[in-house]
């Protein structure tokens, strides 16, 4: 197999002989190395959670957010390179604003996801640019149907709709945990707790400090993408940490 050093990985415009675009693969690796981001779609909304790794102790708590709204009815959680994710979000905001200004209505979920996927895909087609080193989870409330939807946008330009998804470091463990949940019966309030639990339990002790960011778009938040209210989020995270400590204590016994 031809791999690194064979010259097929210098540009996205060159396939390797076995049909791979290495630059895109590397971009995916960048995503896998970043902190965990997970999305859970429940009966009444979508919850997004991010494990934000803190490289320095002196960082202001709550700064450098990885989850942000892109419109009132849509929000994103990024994994991978933070600046790349921010760029994707900023593009998504433009798309939303542009759609609103052109059609006078909120952008439908499918169209937003599609346009963003096209945008990401553009960066896999030209030698002069590199693919984004970030993948984003997109949570939208479709303005026409009122249904909540969760999409994953990858650096390759792939875009798929999910019930639950995890990307970044520890995604496999997190995905397994998400699969165990009864997503259809769960409310967002419960999902917040689960998301916090998954983020806390899958956190790699070797890594430095982290912050758990939680946001949701659900009936409780009035159909708008918002941070999970501080009291609910804090409680969920504290409970998750307590549970983890209890587990550790049991293991130690």
């Amino acid at each position: 197999m031809s791999g690194i050093g064979t010259g097929y990985d210098l540009s996205t415009t060159t396939y390797s002989p076995d049909g791979k675009v290495f630059q895109v693969d590397y971009a995916c690796k960048a995503v896998d190395n970043g902190g965990l981001a997970l999305g859970i779609k429940c009966s009444d909304g979508v919850v997004l959670g991010v494990e934000k790794l803190l490289p320095f102790k002196m960082l202001v708590p709550g700064s450098n957010r990885r989850i942000a709204p892109v419109d009132r009815h849509a929000g994103m959680a990024g994994a991978g390179l933070a600046p790349d994710a921010r760029q994707i979000m900023s593009r998504a905001r433009s798309e939303c604003a542009n759609y609103k200004s052109f059609y006078g209505d909120k952008i439908p979920s499918k169209i937003l996801a599609d346009r963003m996927a096209n945008y990401l895909h553009m960066f896999t087609l030209y030698w002069s640019v590199r693919p984004f080193g970030a993948a984003v989870l997109l949570a939208v409330r479709d303005p026409a149907t009122g249904k909540y939807e969760l999409y994953l946008l990858e650096p390759s330009g792939e875009c798929q709709r999910y019930h639950g998804m995890a990307i970044g470091k520890g995604r496999q463990a997190a995905k397994n945990e998400v699969e165990k949940l009864k997503l259809g019966e769960m409310s967002c309030l419960e999902a917040v707790k689960e998301a916090a639990r998954i983020i806390v339990t899958t956190h790699d002790e070797k890594d430095k400090d982290y912050e758990c960011e939680l946001a949701w778009i659900c009936d409780d938040s009035g159909g708008e993408f918002k941070k999970v209210p501080k009291d609910i989020a804090d409680e969920a995270i504290a409970a998750a940490k307590r549970a983890l400590e209890d587990d550790d204590a049991m293991d130690a016994d």
Partner: protein, 280 residues
């Protein structure tokens, strides 16, 4: 990046489509600089070309709302207007909500062109959404909205394409009650009570006589209804269907439409020609 069509770019100024964002708009703008020809590049006239020269149709109002009144009172601020938008002097649209909520502490209302007001609302919505995306829970204060609108209006008058409105902005934030107005050429002021449109002539004297900043809500509402009646009975482009919106520290509320009692049975109305020499 695709720039949004309407910009809040500080270099260009608010509410103006910047050059380079929308080729169609740029082309239009260029066309407006000099008289246009009927003849297209392929040598044939366009079938629906109306006239050469700059567009005139945005230079005059078509569907208009009249009088908006506003006054402060003890706990906050209220504004009132009818629900009518006239096509010329035809009472064309009779249940238009002319008061809009901008954010949780601000309301605006307008006189003048309805479609221009819609445009202004869309600007504010866009601004609000941009703010919302920060997700820090802060919103623009009423006086910030007001100064933004001042810039928009003034900017557009400098383009010789004014937004044909007078706007009234009201709100309460951080314990400050705000009531301000801005006109179609950007003239603006704050006051304890104000009126936009014809109400300036009809209602302001009543306000000046009776209004105080510390009046109770009931008194303010009663005064407001008196002023509305005074306007209604003199202004042919008003109708007896009003809304009052109030903003207090506790939030904002836009009332259901209501009527004020009217009376045309005055003595002098009975035989209008009696004292008018030469009338018939």
């Amino acid at each position: 990046m695709i720039p949004t069509r309407v910009s809040h770019n500080p270099i260009i100024g608010p509410g103006v489509v910047p050059f380079g964002v929308d080729p169609a708009y740029d082309a239009q703008y260029k066309l407006n600089q000099a008289p246009r020809s009927h003849v297209a590049s392929h040598g044939q006239g366009k079938p629906f070309t109306v006239e050469p020269g700059p567009h005139q149709r945005t230079q005059y109002p078509y569907v208009t709302g009249t009088t908006v009144l506003g006054c402060k009172y003890k706990d906050g601020v209220m504004i009132a207007c009818d629900t009518l938008c006239c096509y010329g002097s035809t009472k064309r649209y009779k249940s238009v909500e002319r008061i809009k909520k901008v954010n949780s502490s601000t309301i605006i209302s307008f006189t003048g062109e309805l479609s221009d007001f819609h445009y202004i609302v869309s600007l504010l919505e866009e601004l609000d959404t941009t703010d919302y995306c920060e997700d820090d829970g802060s919103e623009l204060a009423p006086w910030e909205i007001h100064s933004y609108l001042c810039r928009v209006m003034y900017n557009r008058r400098n383009k010789f394409d004014p937004l044909w409105n007078s706007l009234v902005v009201a709100g309460v934030k951080h314990g400050r009650t705000f009531l301000g107005t801005v006109g179609m050429i950007g003239q603006h002021y704050e006051d304890s009570h104000l009126a936009a449109g014809f109400g300036n002539h009809m209602a302001r004297p009543l306000f000046r006589e009776k209004h105080t900043d510390d009046m109770s809500e009931e008194d303010a509402r009663k005064l407001m209804e008196d002023c509305l009646r005074a306007c209604l009975m003199r202004d042919k482009t008003m109708m007896n269907k009003f809304q009052i919106a109030k903003v207090t520290a506790g939030g904002l509320e836009i009332s259901e439409p209501f009527q004020v009692p009217m009376n045309w049975g005055y003595e002098k109305f009975k035989d209008p020609t009696k004292h008018a020499v030469g009338a018939w």
